[in-house]
């Protein structure tokens, strides 16, 4: 598996660029992963990424889309609590692209 070095710290990613070890994650790595995905990280992006990590710590899985939109609506307002807004932030899909930047494993299945 490829090794990547960011800000003096080296870490492993899988063939699709997902972080192999969850514990390696830090903000610099997130910025690097976002850059690879051509996502420019703003405050709203960080809100999502932080929520994903919190949820993952509790449930060992990324949140379902409804759970995520609901949490976003609570935090950022009802106009942002929808799928469309999440796709604006993460064009390749919140489930996969946002998870990748958050350092979480890729969700699998019929999604």
């Amino acid at each position: 598996m490829p090794m990547v070095e960011v800000a003096g710290k080296s870490f492993e990613v899988d063939e699709e660029g997902y972080l192999t070890n969850l514990a390696d994650w830090d903000e610099n790595i997130a910025k690097y992963l976002a850059q690879e995905e051509k996502v420019e990280m703003g405050d709203d992006h960080w809100e999502i990424i932080n929520f994903l990590r919190e949820y993952y710590n509790e449930y060992q899985i990324a949140p379902a889309i409804r759970v995520l939109t609901k949490a976003v609506a609570k935090k950022l307002g009802p106009d942002k609590g929808n799928n469309k807004y999440l796709y604006e932030l993460f064009p390749y899909g919140p489930a996969k692209q946002a998870c990748k930047i958050a350092g979480l494993p890729k969700p699998t299945g019929c999604i």
Partner: protein
């Protein structure tokens, strides 16, 4: 990850997808990620080619030929008539001649002739027989993951050769020598360890369902429930885990919940069997398929339900309809203690298992469900027949029920419905392009190109009738179209479930 650049095919002017001139090797670069050690070890397969891989492959092929007589017939029967050549969406979308079903099969057939027929053993050059080489094995890996096991070609084959069986055997042999596919193998691990393909653990599932109940009550003012692990419920609903997780899938789950609520039927999901899908079908290992299916039998026994109903999942319905019976004894014929127990437990007035569409349609017909059809008036709807439902199963008590019932439901809950061109629906339906274990980012090029015939048929009804919604009853189709529609400049939210439409229009009693 290096992004693969490729050209998205241009849409045709009407529903017809032109048969392209061949471009040899156009898709030979495509190689799905190989499964790593952990999932392969769990499934009992190696994860690297051993020095004796060739002997292992041929030995395994011999076992398949002996055990699955259909495979041997399919190997022998083909006369290369060519009827299948232009029937595969992957050939139509990629122009690669190895994606003509006959040629894809020939990758295995030439090896079969060499090692399993007299002519091929003594005079291989006379009968088109070839040694199994690493090059051929790599082609197997590439092209057996450019087949969605949709079986459209089989409909047109005068001998009824089931290409999916050959793809399945090919993938199983590949697994056996250490070339499993990462996507399918990881999922087969998760479903057995955690209960579903997503790897959604019980507490997360519970939290997700509670959130959905809140949403439904906020929206409708009615406390519609999504029960989990309720012992003594009448119905066990087994549905793809994507229904808990993704858009538009969740909309159908909400639809099922509203149907059960309206009828006052007690029902439950199971955290142990929180997945209808069974990727054992995709990698061709019946023993794995049996283990995955067994979870559902165990859950049904544990919860003491009277009916088992399957949600909107195409290949799950094939496995349930055609394989549960012989795999786990649900239905008829199982004679072990637990099959007998289950047999006594299930209500024999209903088909076991039933499809959610059969259930809903039955209660539309008897007048128990009421709808406000106008609630769907913003939608102009068409219906995409999912391959495994269309060509490998049935619904209801009449031939063709699997085509008629979903359409009848749509017409009962909405006013605007138009079918796509006849040669692209019913048993001639074109695959979404992401079925059979291909719904993974590493195969996106084949998925986009393979969707071309369906996109042409859809575009045709968009142009003629302003269709803005394509309903379907398969989680893979929904996820595939959500991803692929934008490549063809359609809105991703054009796709959704039949029970999404039901959920929109239903009057909650």
């Amino acid at each position: 990850m290096a992004k693969i650049e490729f050209e998205v095919p241009a849409l045709a002017e009407d529903s017809y997808t032109e048969v392209p001139a061949i471009k040899p090797g156009a898709m030979s670069h495509l190689k799905s990620f190989i499964a790593p050690q952990a999932p392969q070890e769990f499934l009992g397969y190696p994860w690297d080619l051993a020095p004796d891989w060739k002997e292992r492959a041929i030995g395994r092929m011999g076992e398949h030929l002996k055990k699955y007589r259909g495979l041997r017939v399919f190997m022998d029967a083909c006369v290369h008539c060519g009827a299948c050549t232009d029937k595969c969406h992957y050939y139509l979308g990629t122009s690669d001649p190895n994606n003509m079903p006959v040629a894809r099969q020939e990758l295995m057939r030439k090896v079969y002739r060499r090692y399993f027929t007299l002519g091929g053993k003594i005079a291989p050059w006379l009968v088109g027989a070839e040694d199994l080489t690493k090059e051929t094995l790599d082609k197997w890996y590439s092209y057996y993951h450019q087949c969605s096991e949709c079986r459209r070609c089989s409909v047109f084959c005068p001998y009824g050769i089931d290409t999916a069986e050959i793809t399945m055997a090919g993938r199983e042999i590949l697994n056996y020598v250490g070339m499993g596919q990462k996507y399918s193998s990881e999922i087969l691990g998760k479903v057995q360890k955690i209960g579903n393909n997503l790897g959604l653990p019980g507490p997360a599932l519970e939290d997700t369902l509670l959130g959905m109940e809140e949403d439904m009550e906020d929206e409708t003012g009615v406390p519609v429930k999504i029960p989990l692990d309720v012992k003594g419920a009448e119905v066990l609903l087994v549905t793809p885990s994507a229904d808990f997780f993704s858009e538009p899938h969740v909309e159908s789950l909400i639809g099922y919940a509203k149907v059960f609520h309206s009828l006052g039927v007690s029902w439950t999901l199971s955290s142990h069997a929180s997945e209808a899908g069974n990727f054992g079908l995709f990698n061709g290992n019946y023993e794995t398929m049996r283990k995955v299916a067994m979870r559902i039998r165990d859950a049904a026994l544990e919860l003491g339900v009277k009916r088992i109903i399957v949600g909107e999942c195409g290949h799950a319905w094939r496995v349930a309809y055609a394989f549960w019976n012989t795999l786990t004894g649900i239905g008829y014929g199982g004679d072990d203690k637990f099959s007998q127990m289950l047999q006594k437990q299930l209500d024999d007035r209903y088909p076991q298992p039933s499809h959610i569409c059969e259930f809903t349609w039955e209660h539309i017909q008897n007048g128990a469900l009421k709808f406000d059809k106008e609630a769907n008036d913003h939608r102009i709807i068409t219906y995409h027949d999912s391959c495994n439902v269309a060509r490998a199963s049935r619904m209801g008590n009449m031939p063709g029920g699997q085509f008629i019932i979903p359409r009848s439901i749509i017409k009962a809950v909405a006013n605007n419905f138009y079918d796509m061109a006849p040669d692209t629906v019913f048993e001639s339906t074109f695959c979404c392009g992401g079925g059979g274990g291909m719904l993974t980012d590493d195969l996106i090029e084949a998925r986009v190109k393979g969707a071309l015939p369906r996109m042409n048929a859809l575009n045709d009804v968009v142009q003629k009738h302003d269709v803005n919604f394509m309903a379907t009853i398969c989680a893979i189709c929904k996820a595939q179209f959500t991803k692929v529609l934008p490549f063809y400049k359609f809105d991703m939210s054009m796709v959704g479930g039949v029970h999404q439409l039901v959920g929109t229009a239903i009057k909650l009693g």
